[in-house]
Amino acid sequence: MVNASVESHSSAMSPSIWLEKGFGLAFPFIVALVVAAVILLVIGENPIDIFSLMAKESFGSERRIAATLSAATPLLFTAVATAVCFRTGVFNVGVEGAFVVGGIAAAFIGFSLPAGMGFTIIPVAFAFAALVGAIWLYIPGVLLAKLQVDEVVSTLMLNFVAFGVTGYLVNGPLLSEVSGNNVTPPVHEAAELTRLMPPSTLHAGFIVGILVVIAYAVWTRRTPTGFSAAMVGYSQRFSRAVGISVPASIILVMVLSGVVAGFGGASHALGQLHRFTDGFSPGYGFTGMAVALLGRNSAIGIVLGAILFGALASAGTTIQLFSNIPLDLVNIIQGTVMIFAVVEIGRLRLLTRRAAP
């Protein structure tokens, strides 16, 4: 398991610590921009022009900001779902799968309940998605807590199960009769989440995501279970010796992760796509992991990280329309950021080992 449980204990730290933390957070981005700049120079483009174009495309106008926030919305959920586990030292990489099964669960409720229920379908769909997500990650949680089954392997494999099962469902029992291949019927209009800034796709799921981040912040700092989970992340032996139940913490964070990932799937299904399709998530679970690593599992870090990755995504889709720059450049930046975010985790592990030889 990875010990990624470093959070801001903000109460009263000296400015230099803040500076160091700030630089630590920004470091992966700085490196990523340098790498991208080098590539741009090599292919004969002016990096400054391209970067300012990217900034304009992600934050340049109300519409572009809306697009950025819209792209950030699923990441808020998947990053929190990841951070809940990482800060407990549980390396859950199964958020992607839970997001997908949550999505199909919400879509199923959204088109199968009677349309006459109106908007009450929405909470039912969210609740069902959360339940399915929770059960989904409860399984590897119990396997880890009780039988020490490696969670990286079990959750990674469950992702493929999720892709397979949902792929079967949208091509079989839940296949739309009118829309062609690989999609469910659309959800009832009443079940769609409100668009906040039409014509952009930014929807009420963004607000739910922010609420989830706030709830996460409260949980980490101001609940006994959040405290216990943090201690488990610092040291399982210590936790056991002071009477904290390690298995209970592990199972709890996996279930919470499933709930949040399920919410994310529901938000995406009801707010963005209005149905479930094969290829529902282009890796939101994994990008969320990068966001959580980058944001050091802190609530503010997650919001900033999600918006930054959202910006990259929204700039990427339009940037190749206006320049000779391929979309791959954005992928390179994303990849570099992720690598260095992971390097940061490696550094933390090294510190842990030095502190405890």
């Binding site: 006994p224 405290f227 405890a356």
Partner: protein
């Protein structure tokens, strides 16, 4: 081998160390160790776990480099930059964990890394198994054992594996054989067989260095013994000119008599108070390199400090874990304050009134990277005043932490600093602050002053005595016999996973306890 040994028969020191020191950071593993092993001698190195024996052996073998000092082979100073050179010089070591490849046959293991080949080099070169078998058989005959060379190593009994390791080293020209606690894995009869084998080897000219902490074996086998205590040679003598009591005393450090007469705190007034912690017939599997528990029974009364003396790795850690609920006993019973807690979790036992000071402060007593504040409230964060229903009060958490830290005078920078920024003594005080704050009836305390400076030790002793005077009960595990005699009302001695003796502190001296600790450390081989 014998030829090699006779070729240098004129050497007076076959293997030696001259003023070897080795530090790991601030930790002194070896200090100024000098040692000389005469040709054809069986030399025993004894000492507690962690005394520095293994470090010395790794240095002699070329796996570690001394910070200062030199290795002597055949009266000559040598330097090994890697283990291979030591092997070429004729020094071979049999480790506690055997180094045989389990999926290869014993014969394949025998020649692995030094295969006899036909057609010398070149593409047609192949391993000459007939010659390999012949050399194996010859050496086996010499050592007096029968080996079925076609067996897979993994499916072979450990004592045969051990023999094959020895033969393998002999085949590579080893004339100085180092054995690291070779009897730990053997049954009594196999120990006898091993001793016969080692005596045969010695008589054929092999020099043997034998690490142990079982005195009976040392006396039975060795010609000479060297005791290492806390990284230094505390004693060295011919076995024929000393006795086990003397050796035992040097192992546990009982020759510092200065503390014994004066170093006694006031005694508790337990008398025949109620038994608060009772252990009956406890059996439990062991940790790595240690002893399982065999029918351990003991009791602690209200208002007394009971000491548990044992050489490390003799079952005391297992017992402590069983008492606090971190290890489940396979049979037997633990009663806490009159209730059966044999199957209770650590949390349940804590709620009944037990507290635990772990010997492993850095990994179990504390979460070293977590803030000071969190370390001192962990465990009571989920009940009032800190935990209130679903929520946790940050204000109360800070208040409780500040109070607790002040109560035992912990020096810290800020509540949010990681606990690793504190000194060892302050870290241990912090642990006491947390554990005492839960108002326990019984404290299970293991090695409380390890790595703590003198002031810290005094403070911790005061805390324990105060706790006892307030009617608390303590089971105190310590390797520091002076500490046990200073604090305890009576002392229970444990060896090889059994209780081997109990003595009131009055009228007992360190030598007596030391003798019990070491002499019986091999009751079951």
């Amino acid at each position: 081998m014998a030829e090699a040994a006779t070729a240098r028969a004129d050497a007076t020191v076959r293997l030696g160390a001259r003023n070897i020191s080795k530090f790991y950071g601030p930790v002194r593993a070896n200090r100024d160790i000098s040692l000389s092993v005469a040709p054809g001698e069986i030399h025993a190195i004894v000492g507690e776990n962690g005394a520095g024996k293994s470090t010395l052996m790794r240095i002699l073998q070329g796996m570690e480099h001394p910070d200062s000092g030199a290795i002597i082979v055949d009266d000559q100073e040598v330097r090994f930059s890697q283990p291979q050179q030591a092997l070429e010089t004729g020094i071979g070591m049999v480790h506690q964990e055997f180094m045989l490849a389990p999926d290869l046959t014993l014969l394949e293991n025998l020649v692995l890394g030094d295969e006899p080949v036909s057609f010398a080099a070149g593409p047609l070169s192949r391993i000459d198994w007939a010659q390999a078998l012949q050399s194996g058989e010859e050496l086996a005959k010499k050592t007096g054992v029968a080996v079925d060379w076609r067996r897979r190593a993994g499916g072979t009994p450990v004592h045969i594996q051990q023999t094959v390791e020895i033969i393998r080293l002999l085949r590579r020209g080893t004339r100085i054989l180092i054995l690291d606690e070779p009897t730990a894995v053997l049954a009594p009869q196999q120990v006898e067989d091993l001793f016969v084998l080692l005596r045969n080897l010695r008589d054929a000219g092999t020099t043997i260095l034998f690490i142990s902490h079982k005195l009976k074996e040392v006396v039975a086998l060795a010609d000479r013994v060297t005791v290492i205590r806390r990284g230094e040679v505390s004693y060295s003598a011919n076995v024929s000119e000393t006795d086990s009591d003397t050796i035992a005393r040097y192992i546990v450090g009982g020759n510092d008599t200065s503390l014994i007469e004066t170093g006694r705190a006031s005694r508790g007034k337990a008398g025949d108070g109620e038994v608060v912690l009772n252990v009956a017939g406890l059996e439990a599997p062991s940790l790595e390199k240690s002893h399982p528990l065999h029918g351990v029974s003991l009791s602690v009364r209200k208002g007394e400090i009971v000491g548990l003396a044992a050489v490390s790795g003799n079952g005391q850690d297992e017992l402590v874990e069983c008492l606090v609920g971190l290890r489940s006993a396979s049979s037997g019973r633990v009663d806490l304050l009159g209730g059966d807690v044999t199957h209770a979790t650590n949390g349940e036992r804590r709620r009944k009134g037990i507290a635990y000071i772990s010997a492993d402060r850095r990994h179990e007593g504390l979460a070293t990277l977590a803030p000071v504040e969190d370390n001192v409230v962990a465990g009571s964060h989920d009940r009032p005043p800190i935990g209130k229903g679903m929520f946790l009060s940050l204000k109360q958490k800070r208040r409780v932490a500040t109070e607790r830290l002040a109560s035992v005078d912990v020096r810290y920078g800020h509540l949010s600093d990681p606990v690793s920024s504190l000194s060892g003594g302050n870290q241990q005080r912090l642990v006491f602050a947390r554990e005492i704050a839960s108002d326990p009836k019984v404290m299970v305390v293991s090695q409380p002053t390890r790595g703590v400076d003198l002031n810290g030790i005094a403070a911790i002793h005061k805390l324990l005595l105060q706790f006892r005077d307030d009617g608390g009960s303590v089971l105190l595990v310590s390797e520091e016999l002076e500490e046990l005699l200073y604090l305890c009302d009576r002392i229970v001695v444990m060896a090889a996973g059994r209780i081997v003796g109990e003595t009131p502190v009055e009228g007992t001296d360190i030598a007596e306890i030391g003798r019990m600790m070491v002499m019986q450390g091999h009751a079951d081989g």
